[in-house]
């Protein structure tokens, strides 16, 4: 009975399948961070930095791709 359906984490990730890949990467990364820090009432600074790191990484990838397509 239990194994036939998706876990709630997978159900939530499936909601974002239609998003562009960059946003999907940000959302899934941030959800994982939030899950790991769910026992804290306020988000730890370390976790805030991790969110900034994901944004920085995906933004950099996007700019690199944009630059590469201009060079082509």
């Amino acid at each position: 009975m239990v194994s036939e359906k998706m876990s709630i984490k997978k159900q939530i990730l499936a909601l974002f399948q239609e998003l562009p890949p960059d946003l999907r990467e940000v959302v899934s990364g941030v959800l994982a961070i939030e899950q790991q820090n769910s026992s804290y009432k306020r988000i730890p600074t370390r976790a805030k930095d991790e969110i900034q790191n994901i944004l920085e990484r995906v933004a950099t990838d996007n700019l690199n791709k944009e630059n590469a397509s201009h060079e082509d």
Partner: protein
């Protein structure tokens, strides 16, 4: 998560090293631990919570075995330890938590602090274990700390969800078990990240981009303020509704007010139902209206459809089999009428010309498809217009119904307020005042919602302008891109959140109804279980009346258990259900119905029971599902517990 084994070392009354093995067999998924009161069931329950989450203990000093302390020499160390082996998603883990103390010369005990008192290992192949750095994070990913209380619980203390004022607890449980809290936190923290990036960006830009960012900040701040206001209004609305229900309940109990209050209740029910249908109808109208651009294009669609039809009739758009068909005729050199022909005669030339005129097959297919789609659109337009007219008329009728019911209810309220009995008059007047406040708050809430829609639209337009504004250098471009990613990710979560939360509420409601029907021994007496939009868990009897105020303590426990099992089912997180004294307050009928059904509702069921609460039919129901069983023997001479494995037949 499936718990495979717990090892205890000098933990409370478990002196020395002792262990329990829990059943992980899906067909025999029940583990029973028997013990009289004080034998150590609750200590085992504490061991589970303390080891995995470091919680559940008020006085940490009480964790170390007193027998171990008594036997230790002065200045020697004693360690209490709980070690749990469990599996999750095909990976096995061992969690270890320790507490070390030193026995002083005077016999007292001093706790030795140890920052690394919790360790989590991931089992790898060939018996090797790998220590996990982010151990608390991983445990929270497997079974979040705030959700575990809904899986590891004291059976006698779980009727929280079935009390009338429990909607906050019910909502909190759903938020935590179904990860809705993770979504709301992710949304808020992405908004914060967008704001931080905007602030950083403002330091290095000027001119148009700076102005646009200032405007965006203003919108973001207003949006935040409104969200906070909405939460405050929601809480206030729930509080006022509770007051109104209390006053109504008092009036129901006053004999002289009963008949008028009954009419008041009936009219309130009508208003509620009509308002729900009205909201649903508005949703339908909006959905049809979203397609209304088609109506504007009616003439153009008709024109295009006529054009394609004319071409088809002239044979300029042949069927998609034509090209292949003509090729076949040319190859076989036999006409469709059966007459043979040869290369370069009239029939051959005619067919070859037809082939030359025919358009490429892909385009041919597209034209046929387009023609079909245009006809379909033309057919839909009058149908949708008719639907919209129908829904609009229905909406107006509902508005009239609501208005009429409100007027009738006001009449009833006036009669109650003017009652010669002071108590009735006062209660009715206070309810009227609450209802006026409620109305104002609901209007304010709706206005805020509309403002949020407008702000989001304006903010998105600004976002586009910021993206296309001139940027100097890589850092500015990078920050704009970071801000876009944060904002759009937050918006994406926001867009799906309400619908997802509502879907999960309905699923939990459906499962609670189903499970309560299985577990409540007088299931036929109860006709329905509902989880309202404001998270009130309600039971209705066969007369359609709210039955929750009359539920017995046992029935309230069964309702709460049904709700917990429903959440576990909807979440599908395969967490074990661990219950301390699960049946203490239940009648034999409830014990029998729960033991007959509960093993099917959980992936793993661990029960800490006294012999009195698990016997007769209840025990018989479980026998075939028991995979592991222990008895706790408390030695009065040493105050220590030893574990004895029970082997059945």
């Amino acid at each position: 998560m499936k718990i495979e084994r717990i090892e205890l070392k000098n933990f409370r009354q478990y002196f020395g090293e002792q262990q329990f093995k829990f059943s992980t067999d899906p067909n025999r998924n029940v583990t029973i631990i028997h013990g009289v009161n004080g034998a150590g069931k609750t200590s085992l329950f504490i061991a589970l919570n303390w080891c995995l989450y470091g919680e559940g203990v008020d006085n940490i000093g009480q964790l170390v075995s007193k027998e171990a302390m008594a036997r230790a020499n002065p200045n020697s160390d004693i360690t209490a330890e709980v070690n749990i082996l469990f599996s999750h998603d095909g990976v096995r883990y061992t969690a270890i938590r320790q507490l070390s103390c030193r026995k002083q010369e005077d016999g007292s005990i001093r706790e030795l602090s140890n920052e690394k008192d919790f360790k989590l290992y991931r089992h790898k192949e060939a018996g090797k274990n790998e220590i996990i750095d982010n151990s608390i994070g991983i445990i929270n990913t497997i079974l979040p700390s705030n959700a575990r209380t809904y899986f590891f619980f004291d059976g006698e203390k779980i009727d929280n969800f079935s009390r009338p004022e429990s909607s906050r607890e019910v909502q909190e449980a759903i938020f935590q078990v179904l990860n809705l809290e993770v979504l709301t936190r992710a949304k808020a923290h992405l908004n914060d990240a967008a704001q931080d990036t905007r602030t950083e960006l403002k330091k290095i830009v000027s001119g148009e981009l700076r102005e646009l960012l200032d405007d965006e900040t203003r919108f973001a701040n207003e949006e935040n303020d409104i969200h906070e206001d909405q939460q405050r209004l929601k809480d206030e609305i729930a509080r006022i509704e509770q007051h109104i229900e209390q006053v109504s309940s008092e009036l129901r109990n006053l004999e002289e007010a009963q008949s008028l209050q009954k009419v008041h209740d009936e009219l309130s029910k009508q208003i509620r139902q009509s308002e729900q249908t009205y909201n649903h109808t508005i949703g339908k109208i909006q959905s049809i209206a979203n397609q209304s651009y088609l109506w504007m294009a009616n003439d153009a669609i008709q024109k295009a459809s006529n054009l394609l039809e004319a071409k088809r009739q002239r044979g300029e758009i042949p069927s998609n089999i034509r090209q292949q068909f003509v090729n076949d005729l040319l190859e076989r050199q036999i006409c469709i009428c059966g007459r043979p022909f040869s290369e370069h005669d009239n029939a051959w030339s005619h067919l070859s010309n037809l082939l030359g005129e025919s358009i490429p097959s892909k385009l041919e297919d597209d034209l046929i498809t387009t023609s079909g789609q245009l006809s379909n659109l033309l057919e839909r337009i009058p149908v949708e217009r008719q639907q919209l007219n129908g829904e609009m008329k229905y909406m107006m009728q509902l508005l009239d119904d609501i208005k009429r019911a409100f007027n009738q209810r006001d009449d009833v309220e006036r009669q109650l307020s003017g009652s010669s009995q002071e108590k009735i008059a006062k209660l009715s007047q206070s309810r009227k005042a609450y209802e006026d406040d409620l109305f104002k708050m609901k209007v304010k809430y709706q206005l805020n919602e509309q403002r949020l829609v407008d702000i989001t639209k304006q903010r998105k337009e600004l976002e586009k302008k910021i993206e296309s504004a001139k940027k100097n250098g890589y850092r500015q471009r990078l920050l704009v891109e970071k801000k876009r990613l944060a904002q759009e990710s937050s918006d994406a979560i926001n867009d799906m959140y309400e619908q997802f939360a509502e879907q999960k509420r309905l699923e939990v409601e459906e499962q609670t109804r189903r499970i309560f029907g299985l577990l409540a021994w007088k299931g036929d007496h109860f006709s329905d279980v509902r989880l309202s939009e404001d998270y009130k868990l309600e039971v209705f009897d066969r007369y359609g009346m709210q039955a929750r105020p009359e539920l017995s303590a046992g029935e309230r426990q069964v309702l709460s258990l049904s709700f917990i099992s429903a959440m576990a089912y909807v979440a599908q997180n395969e967490a074990p259900i661990v219950m301390d004294t699960p049946f203490g307050r239940l009648s034999s009928q409830h014990r029998a119905s729960i033991t007959a059904n509960l093993p099917e509702l959980a992936s793993q069921l661990i029960l800490f029971v006294t012999d009195e609460e698990l016997r007769d039919q209840a025990l018989q129901n479980l026998v075939d599902r028991i995979g592991s069983e222990y008895r706790l023997n408390f030695d009065k001479d040493t105050s220590c517990t030893t574990i004895e494995e029970v082997k059945r037949g």
